[in-house]
Amino acid sequence: MFHRESGYYKTTYAADMALYPLPIARWTVAGIALAMCIAPFVLHAYYVSVINLILVATVGALGLNILVGYTGQISIGHAAFMSVGAYTAANLAVRLDLPFWVTLPAGGLMAAAIGAIVGIPSLRIKGLYLAIATLAGQLIIEWTINHVPWISGGMQASIEVPRPTLFGAQLRTQHQLYWFLLFFAVLAIVGTLNLVRSRIGRAFIAIRDQDIAAEIIGINIFRYKLLAFAISSFYAGVTGVLYTYYLGIANYEQFQIVTSIDYLAMIIIGGLGSILGSIFGAIFVTLLPIAIRLAMENWGAFLFGDADINNLIPNLRLMVFGGLIIVFLVLEPEGLNRLWRNIRSYFRVWPFSY
């Protein structure tokens, strides 16, 4: 993630395989960790709630990146997998009064199972066709949740869910939720870092890069593609559960195709096949609409009428995303992560640039 390469030699395999082999990288991570610990004490609840959204999105972006960036498969159905997690957890929490440490993995597992099923066509089809197959998955799941009151709770397909309880105390404020969400975001980041540097993750990358060679070294392509769908959907399911706890309500409107596109935008803009990129993407895509809203509210009145502004904001958001996805796909397929690396390597030789 963050490291300088020159002038430092590693002596053991364990050190060579460490996540952050270089001292400066460890210091950077420690600095960020410290900032994350101080942040809630100095920030207003509104800003904390924005960070909370980023934390939730990070989990989802990491999951989608495992599938798309690392395994080379595509899914336009990820929002639906999130809704599977959300409604699974909501039903368990409301009907059976189960705590988050049961509903969270349960939501993840249910989404993993559904995701693996939606991933079955990936054995035979690739690219655009797989995209359409997963899109169909998205629509079927959306429709099902919407039309089966037993799942969706009937009234407007939403279920109110009490906020999670930790050590007997309910997490009510954004500040309290922050620690809860931070824990799972960090768990997802570290887990993903570990996953992609060990046997399973290498197999995923192998399938992405060269499926024939992957088969010849004994990787069962079908099994691993389904596994990638399952793991990725597990993250999506957990994201859905976290978001539900964040909102205090499970609502299908939060998990429509637009959300699937948002998450794809995160990993494309942030960087495919990159963990840091997933985080960058989650930050960027979460902040962008807020920035657009702020900009329009402050300066939009010079150009448009009040009524127009409210219509324009969501559309502008889509237009900016669409534009950015195209720009990044064409100009910088490795996303913000690559830009970051370029900046870093610039400073690595600074002040002796060239």
Partner: protein, 264 residues
Amino acid sequence: MAAGAAQLRVEGVAKQFGGVTAVDEVSLEVQQGEILSVIGPNGAGKTSLLNMVSGFYRPDRGRIAFEGEDITNLPPSRIAERGIARTFQNIALFKGMTVLDNLMLGRHVRMKSGVFASFVYWGLAQKEEMAHREKVEDLIEFLKLEDLRKQPTGALSYGLQKRVELGRALALEPKALLLDEPMGGMNQEEKEDMARYVLDVNEERGTTIILIEHDMGVVMDISKRVVVLDRGRVIAAGEPKSVQANPEVIRAYLGTKHAIRKAA
């Protein structure tokens, strides 16, 4: 496996593509620990034969058995699990990955860490990584790839890529190794190195080797037995010397660009 029984047995195997008969009723037996060369003019069906043994093509007819068990319809990954590794005529490395990662991937079937162990890493998965890293380091030393460990394989020269691909196949600790023109496109020095590695592997590990090669000098030097394919059929088999003198073999090669050269 009974003593003397063949390790790999190919029986009456055939494969057609549209109107082209790539492989036509080929039968052959390979003994454990043997080095067998498969030669023949371009388009003779050599690669197609390897593709059937390694599971990429399903034979239209015939049967393939490895260590007494039928592997005819197994997918490539299952065949790899049984201990058959191979390299490709036109190199199939993971080009964006380092030499080290390519070799670690070669150990896939020998490793066990599942999703949960990988996710947690510290503990089981790390221990496994280190144990296998050591095996891979032995291979890196054997193939003299020390300085290239962290290089992406796509940036290496053709000859080095072939060597890394051999390394990846060896990482699987195969019982039988199928090499499809491992010396193709190499200069004389690289060819000699490669021949040395192949012989060492065979001698030190007892690995069975099936080698497709056009360079007759190499074939004569390292193989104990040669099978000649022409238009999908076995036209001769036996010791290198006798095969080379076989009039049918000479006829098959006449006018092809790989005319048989006198062995050194």
